[in-house]
Symmetry: C2
Subunit: 353 residues, 2 copies
């Protein structure tokens, strides 16, 4: 069983693999071996090569673990956390440790061997979002879990591994991760002072100035944040205040598919299919027990952060938490805004130049 | 002038380059061009190719910006922060911004074209540490600066750039970086409860169990931390409680050179000269004005964190702050401990196996 160990100074949890521990010679510095053509375990027709299906959007009457699906969710074959048991939190001298309890799933975004989510059509991206919401709402029913992080690693430099088929991942945890807590506390601090959601205020200011807006629909907006740590970073948010991605409406889901496709297509076009990560920030489960997070309904707002991986994170960033972004977000947004995408559904705002 | 912009939610400062902003085509994904042999600006005899010398350890009667030095400190030719002016902190709607005031220096660790600090002899490493302490104490006299971060990027994957000559960097800032604040606050919280320094307790527990110790001298210790985010991560600490690296004693400096040389040599041998970063964590300047940090003298303890860059930081880590370490620190330490180094001065502790 992997272990979760807590950094005693700053309080971050780390996952320490205890099985199949990597020895020095296991770290390859050279190029990874990419998959052989035709051997992708995530393609339709090879369903038996993955772990059993947890959820799928399928044709009526098609059987689990067979062809006939649009989106398919399976357990990761090498999960970094394990679903069995309980957390058994305990001391080890001055340190804290618990069992590496959790869930680690793969959301296979298409039955075809497509490598970039930007190439999926909008209806297919909307189905992927349906799968996200369904898994979030299902895992919410397991009382052992406090948080579910949904994310994507695209390209080798972004941790995408040697399988190219477009997919997302989900990790459910028995603790709230430190960065999520910080975000919740930051939003709460602002709310206490202003009595408004900080993300709603940000959307309003961004729409007013327009200089960092990239794409917009009636219900959703995509922009380059004012203090982006990464060049060409984008956030996608609903205009309506809503803490839980699991409660996304059908209209918002369609609009989010529109904005996400346009954003990823523009990044791909501007930066020649760059490696990127994205992370869905949604409110934690079981917050009725969270005491000082009683205001989450009012002060937190779900959003997706898209981070192209163009710069190296080095000693200064690791030591300070301060990132150096060589492209002002206004310039990144102006560049991305001008790019044509095949999709006419994204409103052009004449006032944004 | 670069800008410091504050993330409105979590409160981190980001450095946004406003001059020579990178456009999409400026991001190369391919291999960087390494320097031509014989064209290294950091080698002895090419002193006029760097910015003017700020500090050097030199032969008596040798002139600044000429040959005859052992360690040489110059301004970075492309500084990420600028030394001129003041911070002019101000609002931009709901956002915070200030001028990118600071200092950015390069510490050239040897006049010879040596590429890995592990290959310097101990006396030379001790001279580098003298330069660190001298620059820290000198910058402390500039009332505009609150913190100085000293760090090293070794190897391309660790942000080492296309010049190979071994060197460290220093960035002085007009704000305390978020990660430093978190460390100070974590140490303070522990001190309030225990009335002891958390780092002193950690050193004591590590020396007692011995399972994560790699090298040790009378005054210094190098070990793999219990909750290391990175495989083969090592921390080097003085056994004596001391918040300020700038107040290191001559004995500690010599012992630190011993432990640092042994640590870097072992990592280099185990992992085939891996890319790595190291960061010196020392107490901030001007803490008499810091109100709730009044206990820093008692609760903070300087240390050096060495992070080999063997794993990819991907969506899960960016979204959660939780890192996945595939090598338990006990196993990393056992492996590193066993490696022979040429240096007989490092005590073998028979009780550590």
């Amino acid at each position: 069983m992997p272990e979760l160990r807590k950094d005693p100074v700053v309080g971050r949890w780390m996952i320490i693999a205890t099985e199949r521990a990597k020895r020095p010679t296991d770290f390859e510095v050279g190029h990874s071996q990419l998959e052989e053509p035709g051997s992708c375990p995530f393609c339709q027709g090879r369903e038996m090569e993955t772990s059993p299906e947890i959820f799928a959007l399928r044709e009526p009457h098609s059987k689990p673990n067979s062809a006939g699906w649009d989106v398919r969710v399976v357990s990761n074959v090498s999960p970094i956390l394990r679903i069995e048991g309980d957390i058994q939190r305990r001391a080890k001298g001055m340190y804290d440790v618990m069992h590496g309890l959790g869930a680690h799933e793969v959301i296979i975004e298409t039955p075809e061997h497509i490598q970039n989510m930007a190439e999926l059509d909008k209806a297919q991206i909307a189905r992927v979002l349906t799968a996200y919401a369904q898994r979030l709402n299902d895992l919410d029913r397991d009382p052992r879990f406090k948080y579910v992080l949904i994310f994507k690693n695209h390209g080798l430099a972004a941790g995408g591994g040697n399988i190219l088929h477009t997919r997302s991942q989900l990790i459910a945890m028995a603790v709230n991760p430190k960065l999520i807590k910080e975000e919740l506390l930051g939003a709460q601090r602002y709310f206490e002072y202003r009595e408004r959601c900080i993300f709603c205020d940000m959307v309003q200011q961004e729409l007013e100035t327009g200089e960092r807006i990239v794409v917009e629909t009636d219900t959703m907006v995509g922009f380059c944040p004012y203090a982006s740590p990464f060049p060409f970073e984008m956030w996608v948010l609903p205009k309506r205040h809503s803490p839980d991605f699991g409660k996304i409406t059908e209209t918002e889901k369609w609009d989010m598919a529109t904005v996400l496709k346009a954003s990823l297509s523009k990044l791909s076009q501007a930066l020649q299919n760059p490696p990127y990560n994205y992370v869905l920030h949604t409110a934690p489960f079981r917050r009725e027990k969270m005491g000082y997070w009683k205001t989450i309904e009012e002060d937190f707002h779900w959003h997706l952060e898209i981070m192209p991986r163009l710069t190296k994170v080095a000693g200064f960033e690791w030591g300070s938490g301060v990132y150096i972004n060589p492209t002002p977000p206004e310039e990144a947004a102006a560049y991305l805004r001008k790019l044509e995408t095949s999709d006419g559904a994204v409103k052009a705002r004449p006032d944004h130049g």
